[in-house]
Amino acid sequence: MSESLRNDGRVWAPKSKETAAKLRRGELKPADIAEEDRDYYLERKYPSFGNLAPRDISSRSAKEACDEGRGVASTGLGVYLDFRDSIKRLGESTIRARYGNLFQMYEKISGANPYQTPMMIYPAVHYTMGGLWVDYNLMSNLPGLHVLGEANFSDHGANRLGASALMQGLADGYFVIPATLPVYLSTVSPGSITTSHPEFAAAKANAEGRLKTLFNIQGKRTVDSFHRQLGLLVWDKCGMARNEKGLQEALREIPAIRAEFWENVRVPGNGENLNMELEKAGRVADFLEFGELMCQDALNREESCGGHFREEHQYTDADPEVASGYISAGEAKRHDDKFSHVSAWEYNGEGKPATLHSESLEFTDVKPSVRSYK
């Protein structure tokens, strides 16, 4: 669901675990919960930002409530996003005009009417932070290959905010590339390029070999089963909160999953016609490499920053910022002295460790500071 819903919806979980358990079993309805038994935790923890606290913070807070056993929905993975008060204040028609399409979407998925009962939400993987390395002109390390929009790493930093994909698409498409691409084009003249180049033959053989390998494995497991296994592992170990032990485990398990994939995946068909399983297999093979790199990067970055929350790096009562009341214990702690850089990883081939190139971030006019959403 779109984050814009938090403009008018209030996020809450029941204060007590017992109430949550009853809600999960359907013995209570959210409307039965009295005001004093509800924990509007974003408003409580971040009074000045409330329900509009940034994505990373809000997601972690939802996870925290559920980890404490206060989650709702039959799975226990859910908190309420409640429009009762804004419908009272603004009227249903205003809410419908603002979010009608999203409310419809929710109703279709869940079978419940969000005008009458609060939505149940939980953070999910949507974007990842990062992307392909590009230079200031949006050109990748392959000369002439420019990368625009969310596919590149350039603009969003360690956290993505609502609609950052649109922002980046517009910024790159409207403003950057019209100025930089023509400059590149003016430096090259189209030569004669034929497919007889040895590099071409090698790339072609490589691609064909890979397809053939995938078909020839004829194993027992579906592509989806590997995708699910990898997804759950990365979600658990490299998700909204990570720690060294979990990342180390993931880095041991992913190569094992990858090895099994290449021995035991089943890709039906023969490559003669449209084959969506083959397409999916190619992607999952990529994810198996990329997931490993993500864990590697998360392990390397010994700080918490934006969407990257390393449990070892959080504010504690021993910190002066906490003692002064500026920020609460448990918030993400950056280490700008060591990590004020972008980590660009160079691919060295399958199964080989990637090489780190750090690009330092230099701030001249503003100084990065610790932000409090309290």
Partner: protein, 253 residues
């Protein structure tokens, strides 16, 4: 969570020039919380495990916004619910023991590529023939440079809600693409940014539509009835007016 036991009758076709056939699949133990596409995922997983080839179908966002999913379900594009895409249709709308017929979107201009996947690039070519505006890029416009009345913005937006799925074509006995083309043209024709190229746009898109082999509109309104975004057939009348005007202008110049 309840589960359903269903029988599926699915159109299978190995390639564009192969003969198609209906095959029967047993879909038991389907959670009623699953979407229609998730139900097909489950069925496909079982087909692959038994050594078969999965049923091919188009999908992408799975939240009703991209227009990739299709399927004619029990004879109706996007199924019986109305105002939803197939990916938004959930199994709780069906009953235990149901037999469900699943076929591709059928139209001459949408040839079957495999099973339930059809080639809808005809729509892309219609857009290329005029469904765009040319603007200068490279520097930002001043904010509020182009005031647009709220009514115009709303009307344009309701046309722009078209996700280009092609259900309108599949529902029409003439396989007409008029609802799609009229929505795409109106979206731009209703805004100031769309004015300079309006004549060219309307002529270009309509001519391309005809060239692709879509049929004529005979005001049946099946298109409007199945449209997941509830695009109004009123846009078709608008396109007809805009076309008449554009054709007259073209003859006079």
């Amino acid at each position: 969570m309840a589960t359903l036991n269903l029988t599926l009758k699915i159109w299978r076709q190995d390639g564009p020039h192969k003969a198609g056939r209906i095959e029967t699949y047993d879909a038991h133990g389907i959670p009623d919380d699953a979407s229609f596409l998730e139900m097909l995922d489950i069925v496909n997983e079982r087909i692959i495990e038994q050594g078969g080839e999965p049923v091919h179908f188009d999908h992408d966002c799975r939240e009703g916004i991209c227009g990739a999913c299709s399927l004619t379900i029990n004879g109706i594009p996007h199924g019986p619910e109305g105002a939803v895409t197939t990916c938004q249709l959930h199994m709780r709308k069906f009953n235990d023991g149901d037999t469900i017929w699943v076929e591709p979107f059928r139209a001459k201009a949408f040839p079957v590529l495999r099973d339930l996947v059809v080639d809808r690039t005809a729509f892309d070519r219609i857009i290329q023939a005029g469904g765009f505006i040319s603007v200068r890029t490279g520097s930002a416009q001043d904010a509020n440079n182009l005031p647009i009345a709220k009514d115009d913005a709303d009307a344009s937006f309701s046309a722009a809600a078209c996700i280009g799925c092609g259900a309108c074509v599949a529902a029409c006995k003439n396989a007409s693409a008029m609802l799609f083309v009229s929505a795409k043209a109106a979206h731009l024709n209703l805004l100031p940014q769309g004015q300079p190229e309006k004549t060219r746009r309307v002529l270009g898109m309509v001519q391309q539509m005809d060239a692709e082999g879509f049929g004529n509109c005979t005001n049946q309104y099946e298109c409007e009835a199945v449209c997941p975004k509830e695009i109004s057939a009123g846009f078709i009348s608008k396109l007809n007016r805009d076309y008449a005007l554009a054709a007259a202008k073209e003859t006079l110049t």
